[in-house]
Symmetry: C2
Subunit: 300 residues, 2 copies
């Protein structure tokens, strides 16, 4: 049986921490439930926005088990599992698939820079062999502004040809609409599932043949993104998308992860949401105030 | 009792892998023994050159224990312990110090980019608190060409003022002599231990007040570097350093880690030394041949 693959609005879900900077399972799962109720079609647990790379492998496996045992449907979770170490990526991917996640979002190994496509191909090929599970579905995670290691078109071509039905999609966090459009044009006709990593490109991506978006912004206003998704072929989608852009651009003036946490802390009157693992730091009081002013009453 | 801190020639020691890409403990330890016998004063196990970030935390702790139980003196080891995740860095640092290593080499968390000094300071401060061991000595690892996260002068100032006797040195792999010189001028007078990450700067660093070098090149010709170190105040050091530069520049025309592995494989007639974890790949036959020609008979 083929697992249903997620489409629509995916949130790379924020992780809540206790004051001692341990994962706050209860707060995080409550956020997951809110996101799903407010209109997220699925959640990327352990994305960049989740501070996944600030978590250990054990913290990741334990929290995923905790979330599922606390009522989060694993079929709605696309865990991020790409690490610098192949051994870690294999372990996390096996674990996620074993818990019935429909797929995993896979960063390239990101420590070494200027690596070759051959090296990246071997990384993914070895991973697929070692996971050794027919249920494995991989979404590539292209986020060069952060990872500094790109997943180029030639590599995607080689991976999709070599591993059809396994390498099935991409989150494009290049931030460059032209790049996303080219990905859709070239790979979507064969069924490759393209999700821009920015809500700014949600409507154009949907109209061009993308599957939705996986956007940090979904953590604070998934309902608005879901409206764009539902109405994407209707004329009113344009003004909805304009409101997405207005809010998205306001958010982007600040470091995005602390800014999202500040919005949650404010909207839920729950300062614990601002806890963040170093090297990230919370917004200053001045930044918070300015951000709330710019986002305005439209959020929540 | 204060542990003696290493000076002189330190090799960020290569890691050997089996054909199945597991750590080849026996070959790696034999290499460590050769390095120490040939003139290395100490070894950085789990540096960039060691492919440390391609290893899991468990692989790192197990191998360190294996090396020590197979006769490598822990007081000659400076393990790299900096990871993206604070929890991993704490675990590895505690483990290394517990095994009597004189110190650890600490990358900044390297996933998130454009992070603040405040965030990096909190990372190191929290680490020191959580390791909670008076024996902890930290060498900062500044390698912006790879990590893309720098450890700047203000941060070093703050760390050395806040944690005197704990944050005691730096490996400067900026590749920029002017940067190394400024580090020495500013921090060495107070006892801060500066090691350039490049053999190209060994002699100038020693003459300016640096403590030696931690250079990948030491994996193939530690004896030559040791001669420079021993003779650094004598006139003949200049021509020795020129030969270091000749060989070092030849090596740098190729991806350094595969190039070093190719040289070991050739000089030991042991092709297994070329095994390398993705995303890195071995040199092509043409690259190998050209490299050996350029290095010439001088090596080994």
């Amino acid at each position: 049986m083929e697992t249903t693959q997620p489409s629509g609005i995916l949130a790379p879900a924020l992780t809540a921490f206790t004051k001692q900077l341990e994962i706050d399972g209860e707060r995080t799962v409550a956020h997951f439930q809110w996101l799903l109720k407010q209109g997220c079609d699925a959640l990327v647990v352990f994305g960049t926005t989740s501070e996944a790379n600030s978590l250990s492998v054990t913290e990741r496996t334990r929290f995923l088990e905790y979330a599922i045992s606390n009522g989060i449907d694993p079929r709605k979770l696309l865990p991020g599992t790409g690490c610098c170490s192949l051994a870690d990526s294999v372990l996390l991917s096996k674990h996620a698939i074993g818990l019935n996640s429909p797929g995993v979002l896979m960063l390239p190994p990101f420590y070494y820079k200027a690596v070759s496509d051959e090296g990246l191909f071997r990384y993914f090929a070895t991973l697929i062999e070692r996971v050794g599970d027919d249920r494995l579905r991989i979404y590539l995670y292209h986020i060069p502004p952060v990872s500094q290691v790109a997943i180029g078109f030639d590599l995607i071509e080689r991976l999709t040809v070599e591993f059809p039905g396994v390498v099935i999609g991409i989150k494009d966090s290049s931030g460059d609409w032209e790049h996303t459009r080219q990905l859709i044009d070239r790979f979507a006709p064969a069924g490759f599932r393209v999700f821009p990593g920015s809500e700014l490109h949600l409507l154009p991506a949907l109209r061009a043949g993308g599957k939705g978006c996986i956007s940090a912004f979904a953590n604070i206003n998934p309902a608005l993104l879901q409206k764009v998704f539902q109405n994407c072929q209707r004329p009113e989608a344009v003004s909805l998308q304009q409101e997405v852009e207005r809010q998205g651009r306001a958010l982007r003036k600040y470091p995005v992860i602390p800014a999202l946490k500040a919005v949650l802390a404010e909207s839920r009157q729950d300062p614990a949401w601002e806890n963040i693992r170093p090297p990230l730091v919370e917004l200053s009081a001045a930044q918070r105030e300015a951000l709330f002013g710019e986002l305005g009453a439209a959020t929540q």
